[in-house]
Amino acid sequence: MKQNRDVLWDEYQTQLKKEKKLVFGWQIAIFAAFFILWETASRMYWIDPLLFSSPSSIFELLRHRLMNGSMFVHIKVTLFETVLGFVIGTMAGILIASLLWGSKRLSRILDPYLVILNAMPKVALGPIIIVAFGPGYFSIIAMGAMVSVIITALVVYSAFREADPNYERVLKSFGATRWQVFKEAVFPSTLPAIISTFKVNVGLAWVGVIVGEFLVSRQGLGYLIIYGFQVFDFTLVMSSLILIAIFAAIMFKLVERLEKWLIRHSA
């Protein structure tokens, strides 16, 4: 029996590895096929290389611009704005949710306004934000934060409200104040829900920042897209898109790590 068990276990392991290899193989294949097809289509003039560029010219541009350092400033600016927009938007959302929880009356009064603000496409407020904060980092960071703040407030507030009232009852029987109830029971019990808004907000912050850069900026990946579009340099547009894809993915993964870490250390 013992030996048989080991054999079966080995079989199971090989099976798992095989499946993993297969999935990874397909992922690589799709990746390669896409770029090869793109390159070929561009060289054979199936698509207009002026409009759709080609992987080789994008690679060449990226190599050149990364070597001479002229790309870094744009990457740096966009990352800075996105991270700050994400942090500010999320924090402000949680803060608003806490205030709403703190005063039922306030939440009742503000309810219709929050609904309208939430339904409103935030990027439509772009021009007004730029007028208010001036054409600079401030406006773009504000855009990045704006996109996520209301939805965070609503999601976190509803999580606060769904916290089990019996924890509150236990605390009240010890004479806890409302702030203590929030700190000891409501906030920690909704932490998983709060953390799950992080992942959504990272994506939203990118939307706000890129649109902000479209509207007003002299630096950043969003600026490069608009600039490339205006001077008809689609290799530049595509290069910026690829950089955005890479950095957005990295940021998403980092937030995912943070989420796992926080959940492990709070439960």
Binding site: Y167, V170, L171, K172, S173, F174, G175, E184, A267
Partner: protein
Amino acid sequence: MSFLAVNQISHLFFNKNGTTQALDSVSFSMKEGEFVSLLGPSGCGKSTLLNIVAGLIKQTEGNVLLKGEPLHDQDHKIGYMLQQDYLFPWKTILDNVLLGPQISKVRNEEIELEACHLLDEVGLPDVSSKYPHSLSGGMRQRAALVRTLINEPEILLLDEPFSALDYFTKLKLEDLVAKILKTYKKTAILVTHDIGEAISMSDRIIVMDRQPGKIHQIFDMPIELRDERPFMCRRHPKYQMVFDKVWGSMNEIESAAKGGGT
């Protein structure tokens, strides 16, 4: 003067569709160290009454006096045990148990030692640094008992604390709680659906009627049953006799409700 006096408590609940009378002039009093059970069908206002005594809701009429003084929520001389343990999953057992002292900002080493001692006493040694999810239901409820006792409450309010446990654990815990209450001479009110539990644990049983909640009948337990531990109580010759009386009383309520067309 009685230790706890509940005087003419009436309570109304308001909602959009109107008002519901939950309690109608309920009065009783308790001596120090006495154990009283509130027994009755669902909706008879037992839990409402408990919440009023705990000061968690304000009664519409009447008053509750503890040693002749009206209860204020700032005294926290009331210990509360609920149907489930409601231990905070993100806190260790020790931090859970010391929640009361932490809230009133009196947590210190002395009280931590006291907590460990009490945990030992309820049969939970070596769990203080563990988290609630690694404990069984019975163990968790015992930790919740310690969390209540550490605040040295004058009165313990037990809101069906055994109802979510399996039968075996429940009987063991009844014995433990009865023993602890005797040792520390605590006054307690138990809300329950379980006639056997009420008989085996109490000195007195108050059977309540519903809609509105009011006292239907009061049973003083025979002296032989009072001093016996709950498990032995259930095997006492007098147990069945008391059970039948209480059963009869509960039946009256049910048939009256049917007769009333509700």
